[in-house]
Amino acid sequence: MEINLLWGVFGIFVLLPLAGSILSYLGKKFAIYIGIIFALIPTIMLYPFYAQNISELINIGVNINLVFDTTTWFFMLMIDTVAFASFLFAISCVKKKPEGFASLMLLSLAGANGVLMSRDFLSLYIFWEMMSWSAYLLILRSSGEYARRYLLFGILSAYFIIMGIGIFYYYTGSFLFSDSAGIPLMGWFWILFFLVVGFAVKMAVVPLHVWAPYAYSSEPSFVSFFSGGLSKLGTFGILMGMYGIAGLSILQGFGTFRDVSLFGYPFALLGAFTAFIGTILAIFQDDLRKLLAYSSIGQLGYVMVGLGLGTPLAVSGALFHAFNHAFFKSLLFLGAGAVIYRTGKYKISEMGGLGYRMPFTFLFVLFAIFALAGIPITSGFISKWMLYEAAIEKKFVIIAPLMLIASVGAFLYSFRILYGVFLGQLDKPYENIKEAPLPMLVAMGILMLPLLIFSIFPGWILEWIDDIMKSTGVGTIDYNTYSYYSSIGGANMLVLWIAFMLVFIVAMLIFLMKKARKVDQYDNYLAGESPPYVQLHAAHNFYKPLRDTWAPLLKYSIDRAYEKLSRFFVEGFEEIKKIYTENPQDYAAYLGIAFLLFLFIGWWLL
Amino acid sequence: MDLFTLVSLILIIAMLIAAVVAAEIKDLLSAAIAMGIVSLIVSILFYILQAPDVAITEASIGAGLSLAIMIFAIKHTERWEK
């Protein structure tokens, strides 16, 4: 059917942002404002496209077939809202060359939307690469070396995906997801292996996570979209790869271990291991952005576990956790961005007591931290709880404990952020810093809203997730608006909220009844003496004892392993360079030998 | 062994000797002259092979001009091969 390019799905979600990126590059100073408009349109347009299933075929020389269904809708909701929030945040934060920022952001947004909608490998790969190199250029804005590492891993992931696509093409002769008949089991193994590893690089799974801490320490407003939004494409890819294309029956075909497919289980293990490593490393980081980066790797490890296990509960937990992660992680990054914008410092040890001067930022970061750590009343709790139950339900002895330790670790580093940055004593230089500017607060507010809503009414989001699960054939979970039930329990948010409200009221009463004494900020810890101003904010070297216990483990860093590997290759290249000896006589000898060699091969072949 | 093959063989052997001399001799001028001799003999062979046009061209360009250009080059550079 002849689709009109402008109103069709492809038009709104890909062409419009592309047009926006060109327009914003032209509008030099107003780039960010143009960017906001073009980022807002897809988010708004999501509403009318809710439960629809539109498929389009566009032929630009190669045919691109796109399908807009609930999975796309769900992921697009995440990515577009985070993008819109980042743009809002960027109004005051991005001063240097805003047009470059806005155009590249819109370009990667277009790429991301394209990936979500594409239902054939060619268009998936086109949009995937477009998204990754525009992200590369955005990182390049802040530091060349970090950008280079990101690009190397980005291209590595792209080439893994190409290998997967190639083998798929070898067996089926076409790129469409749908005609995947007639592929032998071994073929499926290699296709899935390459695809999942390729997408896992984007989700920063442990051995391939080295690029993440560097990439996440570029501009805060971009990083929130980058870590919050774009890493979800990895989740989408694995979801489509394992369940959309292959389907549960093929996965089970590989044999099952405690009725979880043998293909998925090692990835679940890897996910748990990532969660563990990510959290441990996050605890000891002093730089705020690196800490958030490692914590992001840890949280995505949870999602990987869920996708790996493949039971309905696990996958829905993973999707819900991915949704939460998108919002609370980008909220955290925006919060960190606001703090950095105001204080100009990156190290946690150099900040302290900012909560008094930046109350709203403090509130938003507090709520995000609760969601991250999985405190019961927040939506983060439900998703983590679903993942625990999925692991325990199938009696996985390694994965469940690793996840528990990781979540304890998560609490540790989130407390470090809270205490190090916001609580404690307000330092001299920060006496008169103001609250973050309005657009930043609005952006953070927008991101906090869904977390709040879905922590009260998880049913709505579980309904969307249920549609996805049905469309990808994973199975169903039973839920109602306030809670979900699984074979070994469930969680009822209504009860939790009521309990919380009661406790909260009691605490307020005590506070209001004047039993509590207002303590001045500087007179604690000093047992009555009053020396001149003393800086007692001990955020420096926060978890020293814990670090000593883990010291033997921290010796082996994966980054150093990669350094050694690359040095080995570079020496090899210097050796190979010697072939071109710059002496024409050797070249003539090469020619003679080549003639004889070609002749022998020709004679032997024909 | 009619006359044709006899004359050709003699000339070919002479040509190959001149070629080997051109390859091995240290003095560049003599090497150039040996090369001139080779192309002279080749032009005679062309004549034997009933190709007069080519024989004249080879004689005038091969033996004449390329030898002259070679000697000019040697004049500009060195005469002895190290």
Binding site: A589 | D53, I61
Partner: protein, 243 residues
């Protein structure tokens, strides 16, 4: 070490090529038996290309010297390429030797009297002979290339005899360009008149007469002048520094 490597490669290539050439008959071949396939009309004919040239060459091109007919008329495009190659060589040598002309002049011994007087006499005759060769290109053996080379050797003789002699670059260039333009012009003219590039549109006249074979003598004179001036240019450039 390089000598051994060179020797081994040389011997191996000799063996390989000799093996290939042993399969090819020398001398006792019948030119008529190689029937060619005509790709334009897509039909296999019983006629062979060399035999066709030998039988109808005289009629189709009017020149008695079949080699000249092939060089200029049947495969005239090769000769066009050939002339470009020579033009390129003289331009290349000119552009490379350009910087060396400004070098300091070196003293050059005068040639002895015999060479001077002989070259004064012979110069005219050699040019005449060269001109004879390429003007009769379509009748007797030889043609543009050898004729041009002979003219160049006559200039060479002057270089040897008179140390201070320097052929004027500007005139050489003009002669070269005009000859080249006539050649390409004749080709384009053929294109306009008869729709084929380098078509022989002039009348053929009687076979053994001087003014026969249509366009061939015109082209061969142009080639002769061009080759002559170009080789003289190369020799002049290679002479480089002169008093």
């Amino acid at each position: 070490m390089k000598r051994i490597l060179g020797g081994v490669i040389a011997v191996l290539i000799f063996i390989v090529l000799a093996l290939a050439f042993v399969h090819i008959p020398f001398g006792n071949i019948d030119l008529a038996e190689y029937h060619y396939y005509n790709p334009v009309d897509n039909e296999h004919t019983q006629d062979s290309v060399p035999q066709h040239y030998l039988d109808e060459g005289k009629k189709e091109t009017g020149s008695t010297n079949i080699v000249t007919a092939v060089v200029v008329d049947y495969r005239g495009f090769d000769t066009l390429g050939e002339v470009t190659v020579l033009f390129l060589a003289s331009t290349g040598v000119g552009s490379i030797m350009y910087i060396f002309e400004k070098e300091k002049r070196r003293k050059v011994r005068r040639a002895n009297a015999v060479v001077e007087t002989a070259s004064k006499l012979l110069f005219g005759f050699i040019i005449l002979f060269g001109a004879y060769i390429f003007v009769h290109g379509h009748l007797t053996p030889g043609g543009g290339f050898p004729g041009g080379a002979v003219i160049a050797s006559s200039f060479l003789l002057l270089y040897l005899a008179y140390p201070r002699f320097h052929a004027e670059h500007k005139n050489l260039n003009i002669a070269e360009s005009l000859a080249g333009l006539t050649f390409v012009g004749v080709g384009i003219l053929g294109l306009f008149l008869a729709g084929y590039f380098l078509y022989n549109f002039l009348p053929f006249g009687l076979p053994t007469y001087l003014f026969s074979a249509g366009v061939i003598p015109v082209i061969y004179v142009a080639v002769g002048v061009k080759v002559g001036s170009e080789l003289t240019g190369i020799v002049d450039a290679m002479m480089g520094v002169r008093e």
